[in-house]
Symmetry: C2
Subunit: 409 residues, 2 copies
């Protein structure tokens, strides 16, 4: 008799963004004719870069002729893309071998699947608040224990509080944690970590023989000098850290789908000698995955070329311009704002004692603006909302004006 | 301290195709200047259909303008593609609801991931031989137990022998099996199952409350009238079967990456009422996956249009023509051949007491032809090799001639 995976049933509630979409739809049904201003999901809105589109069209021309057609590529990714990524890290002074690079269909898949190479008895630690996929993938895989309403979290997970008091950058946990998820620039708080703050985690992981899963999906949004763009800028990180990254927010590939992970050969633990985790991830990818779309990969190569990089960084600059408008506009209205400097996300303290979902409903009702309730990212997200800089400039301006009007500006 | 997933370490050996590639490379190094004729991996070789390429270029044009650009789509797939798939099933007289369709990046991913929605205590059954992903994904997820050299298999898996005696179509297992993987047209044997043979499995599953995972990736290769193209042609299958399928072999999307699964609302078990498995798979996809590439999905819609279907079925016909050449050529050389009629795979009995890998080495050595050793698909694959019809016509002819020369034809 077939039975369900009991761990899936532990998942506390619907995934955050579907719930945001559901409430927004319900509001639209109640308010026909009114248009909604979206600062919710981190979904790119601007056109793909011209050189990226050209490269993908050229790839389609190659696939249109039997002489240049290719089928399955390597599960680890096409060599030209892995070489381009190697060069990309080289620009940061980081040396990565080709067999340490695993191209994927996006950072979300990798962030969710990476837990599968670790022991089922692993204890994980996450920032609180955090991107929900780290927690949900571990719940569904049996690493998280039961949900406990009183702590608004799962019993077996170590939560690292990230709040205004620590600038949204936690210190390493004192309790046991085998796998630690870190994301900088952070989703949802927009915080970045200094070299010293990351070094504390690397030193801690080396001492404890734990592994850091570092989500660098927003690294190209860093404009403050000296802030690390990769965990491998920290000495020793190649022995204790996996890095996950993406073309989604850099090149507008949210729909095109392309990402990558770095699993260093030097990564090790007491019962996993050098090369073990790399080999396990390779085996995982070869068994559960068949490579990213070759069209997307051709676009990825172009996005990392000098011309593509110029064009994509213009895209990034556009969204950072939006973030400036949000942050300045909302601060001017008296709201306490964090992030939004090296990040497309502005983390806004709910005023007047509003909870996250109450403020979500309030902004939707009074300003027709959709944001993301901070509580959806964890208990320490309660009392905040995430405002996303992804949108057309004119829509961002309209949404910010609409919120400012609520506050009499 | 981080530890590895112990279940990954149970995986008996390297994945079949990398091993084939390794031996081929080693042979090439020993035989510089000699060219190798590939009848190994089921990798498409002919150009994408013109209407499919046009649709993907049009999608790229839409993504090139901020007014028509789109980012994240639904994790379940874009609506136009799900509607096209609904129409596709409608052609077979099968009614599928849109929320029963889950678009993915390929059948391999779905075949590997589907086990995750079932209880960890599930006992799985597979055809022997079978596509390795069914077994390997279950081994890595802890459903398979230890590898036992004496049975050339995993202790907790129920193997359903598929051999010449039963026409490579097994009967349902007598022992307990909660999840049963079936693949018709079969990879690797090329066998197809009649309505009566599939009905036996559906009746068995309904009685035992087990679930069939039906891999229909090669369904468009069926030319014998009356052979079912979908498990849902069998009465009651919507209550006990999940179907997985793909654009890879139908539209040449091996590199483009696109597939889908059907998880019916009616699918149920004693402790999983109607809708439960559908909801779990939806949750799995929303948590671990972010949708297939929107460019590939645009191509998929075109491949299912009337024009696209005509073009893609021409592609299928081309490979089936190759299969005819292989089967006729090798039978003419005195080899016992199975499959290759409703399938791109010809399953060849190794002559002269050769084992699979011995015959692999023999054909590589004497005929410069790469095939796939049957033993790589399971213990009952021992003594066979799989010959793939994917290749340019002239290469297929050359390879078949080369084998025939070995046998003095």
């Amino acid at each position: 008799m077939a039975s369900c995976n009991e761990d899936f049933l532990r998942l506390a509630s619907g995934y955050l963004f579907p719930e945001v979409a559901r409430r927004t739809r319900a509001w639209q049904e109640r308010n026909p004719g009114k248009s909604v201003l979206r600062l919710g999901i981190g979904n790119t809105t601007e056109a793909l870069a011209p050189s990226v589109v050209s490269a993908m069209k050229e790839k389609l021309d190659l696939l249109s002729s039997r002489d240049t057609y290719t089928g399955y590529g390597d599960e680890q990714g096409d060599l030209p893309l892995r070489k381009a990524l190697q060069r990309h890290y080289g620009r940061l002074g980081i040396s990565i071998a080709l067999d340490e690079i695993f191209v994927s269909d996006g950072a979300k898949s990798d962030a969710a699947n990476i837990q599968s190479i670790f022991s089922r008895s692993s204890r994980i630690a996450v920032q609180d608040p955090a991107y929900p996929v780290y927690v949900d993938s571990n719940v569904a895989s049996g690493h998280a224990g039961d949900y406990d309403e009183s702590i608004m979290g799962y019993r077996s997970i170590a939560y690292m509080p990230s709040d205004a008091a620590n600038g949204f950058v936690p210190v390493p946990p004192e309790e046991r944690a085998d796998i630690v998820y870190l994301c900088f620039p952070n989703n949802p708080t927009g915080a970045v970590a200094t070299k010293e703050q990351l070094k504390a985690f690397v030193d801690w992981a080396l001492e404890r023989r734990s592994v850091i899963v570092f989500d660098a999906a927003y690294s190209d949004y860093i404009r403050t000098p000296g802030i690390p763009r990769s965990i491998y800028e920290i000495d020793g990180a190649e022995r204790c850290a996996i890095e996950i990254s993406s073309f989604s927010k850099y090149a507008g590939f949210t729909g095109v789908r392309l990402g990558w992970s770095i699993v260093p050969m030097a990564l090790e633990s007491d019962n996993a000698p050098t090369g073990t985790f790399n080999r396990l991830w390779n085996r995982r990818q070869c068994t559960f995955f068949n490579g990213a779309s070759n069209i997307a990969q051709a676009g990825g190569v172009a996005a990392l070329s000098d011309e593509g990089r110029r064009e994509c960084m213009e895209l990034v600059g556009y969204y950072l311009g939006n973030a400036d408008i949000i942050r300045n506009g909302l601060e001017g209205a008296g709201l306490a704002c964090y992030g939004g400097v090296d990040s497309p996300y502005v983390w806004v303290r709910c005023p007047d004692g509003f909870s996250s979902w109450e403020y979500f409903d309030f902004l939707l009702d009074k300003a027709s603006v959709v944001v993301t309730p901070g509580a959806g990212f964890g208990s320490r997200g309660e009392g905040y909302v995430r405002v996303s800089a992804y949108g057309h400039r004119e829509d961002i301006e309209r949404a910010v004006e609409s919120i400012r009007r609520v506050y009499g500006c």
